[in-house]
């Protein structure tokens, strides 16, 4: 009886392994990537008939881990500091940090925590397109958000050393949020600043310890 159960478990594991979708690269097993590169960037874009506004932060921190052969195992988080967002107008940056907007004193960080990976599309052996569901927190409010993400795995090489030692993981993500969902509501939202903000993240992580 025990042998039958063990065989069934092994069979189930083998079947689930064969359905696992991941990178086909030299690296194997669990890998953890730190996103500390100063080039990493998160961009906020608002468009209204009156004005287009771009806000950018290069103060991005985060860590993700995954089993290389199973992208669904991806977990981790990315954080930016509100104080680091620049919009090219110093006065507007001050407003953005103020109580009426993102209230940087009370809510200094904006975070995305990965919860689930779905709609996996293998583009190349080292490139996967997917939809990542996560908890996005801004202004002290957390909402579930789905991001369109492209992940690219590069095994360590002479080329990757330009950025960091170890393997590199490239993350290109895009999603939209509504400011009103995060209790950022004032007279300007919907007029000079759109309620819906497009967020783009361009990140490079390294698994070097």
């Amino acid at each position: 009886m025990n042998t039958i159960i063990k065989t069934l478990i092994l069979l189930l594991a083998a079947v689930s392994m064969s359905f696992a979708q991941g990178f086909k690269v030299k690296a194997t097993g669990e890998q953890t990537f730190n996103f500390e590169d100063k080039r990493n960037q998160v961009k906020f874009f608002s468009t209204t008939p009156l004005e287009d506004i771009t806000g950018i932060s290069n103060d991005v921190k985060g860590k993700v881990s995954l089993n290389v052969s199973d992208i669904k195992s991806l977990k981790g988080s990315i954080t930016i500091s509100v104080a680091s967002i620049k919009t090219a107008i110093d006065l507007r940056d001050e407003h953005l940090r103020s109580e009426n907007w993102l209230d940087a004193d009370n809510y200094p960080e904006i975070t995305f925590v990965i919860k689930k990976v779905g709609d996996i599309k293998i583009l190349e052996d080292n490139r996967i397109e997917t939809k990542i569901t996560g908890d996005f927190t801004a202004h002290g409010v957390t909402k579930e958000t789905i991001a369109d993400v492209t992940l690219t795995y590069l095994d360590a090489s002479e080329q990757t050393k330009q950025y960091a030692p170890g393997d590199l993981l490239g993350v290109q993500a895009k999603f939209n949020i509504a400011l009103s969902d995060f209790e950022v509501e004032n007279m300007i939202v919907g007029q000079k600043v759109a309620d819906e903000i497009e967020i783009t993240a361009t990140l490079r992580g390294s698994n070097a310890k």
Partner: protein, 96 residues
């Protein structure tokens, strides 16, 4: 209102419209910018990582609508006003 005064008003309105179009074409920015975003050329490694081109911040002072077009619009209005009254007084003198 004589014909010269009409020309002054029409010319002033055309110039003010041109200033408005110029402002809109420049991005419709209300405030002066302290910097600008320049799109960076993507590196080979970033391409290999599947990343899109990024923007880099560069400090540069760019006048926005308020100081820029407001001053020009103000000059147009003042000049148009002076011409309007000049032509009015000329006509009055001619009548006398």
């Amino acid at each position: 209102m004589n014909s010269k005064q009409k020309y002054v008003i029409i010319s002033a309105l055309i110039l003010l419209t041109a200033v408005l179009i110029w402002w809109l074409a420049s991005g419709g920015e209300m405030l002066s910018k302290d910097g600008m975003w320049l799109e960076q050329e993507i590196s080979e490694l970033d391409k290999a990582l599947g990343l899109e081109p990024q923007k880099v911040y560069q400090e540069k002072f760019i006048l926005g609508l308020l100081p820029h077009t407001a001053v020009i619009s103000g000059i147009i209005v003042v000049v148009a006003g002076i011409l309007f009254f000049t032509f009015k007084s000329k006509k009055t003198k001619e009548k006398k």
